[in-house]
Symmetry: C2
Subunit: 145 residues, 2 copies
């Protein structure tokens, strides 16, 4: 038995997740996903396009949009919007917040303590049920990485 119920190889999980949604693992989808994993700086669709091109010169921007949307649908990638401007994409599946450095424009992932999301959900008034919570910090960070 070489296939376990929950493989943790990125490639496996991609193929698996796509299959779960009845979708195919095309070269375009695989490369787009790998690009996101390689440099987790929350690139825009345009930036993904530029990074994918060398590997797949024939790819079109429309396909990049399609692939990103597909990956978001499969819960492999999160679409991030915290300011007017292009959507950014993030392959971090763990619950996390985003820190947006207003000086550099960079965005960092911030791990959340266990239970925080539930604590936040508990402040909602009766009748409100959240399936997801997004937290964005804005400010300045000394880390120049």
């Amino acid at each position: 038995m070489s296939t376990t119920a929950h493989s943790h190889s990125p490639h496996e999980s991609l193929v698996q997740r796509l299959a779960d949604s009845g979708l195919r693992a095309t070269p375009q989808r695989e490369v787009v996903y790998n690009i996101l994993l390689q440099k987790r700086d929350h690139p825009t669709a345009d930036e993904v396009f530029a990074r994918v091109k060398p590997e797949l010169p024939g790819i079109s921007l429309a396909t990049v949009y399609n692939c990103l949307e597909t990956l978001v649908q499969c819960d492999l990638v999160r679409a991030v919007n915290f300011e007017r401007g292009p959507t950014r994409y993030c392959p971090n599946l763990k619950p996390h917040a985003h820190f947006h450095d207003e000086r550099s424009g960079a965005t960092y992932d911030v791990d959340l303590p266990e239970g925080l999301i539930d604590q936040l959900k508990s402040i909602l008034p009766p009748g409100f049920h959240a399936s997801a919570v997004e937290i964005t910090f804005r400010g300045e960070s000394k880390s120049l990485r």
Copy 2:
């Protein structure tokens, strides 16, 4: 003495805040601001434009954008972006979260318990200093208002 150091009339605070930034209180700015106060449903610039027109038929969309931007600069209004799509505007100055009802598309303000923002800021790693925190819930609400 009829003018106190901190008047709470919306109109006063508008005039005051604009003056503080060296800006004038024009009819366009006043009407745009009042429209936001009247119906706090987080309208887009287009929606604000439509609501302002009856009162100020000659106003242009560019001016609505200008006024909204000005109000945001003066900290009278918050620009809200939590999904791809047009920026929405919110005249609620108190710290609050947003609840986005995925069924109706409506957005509700959610009051935050005292201290929560500070608690959240405390989870940031060393070197990160947040000036603002945004919290967005997504889900379904029973409230049909």
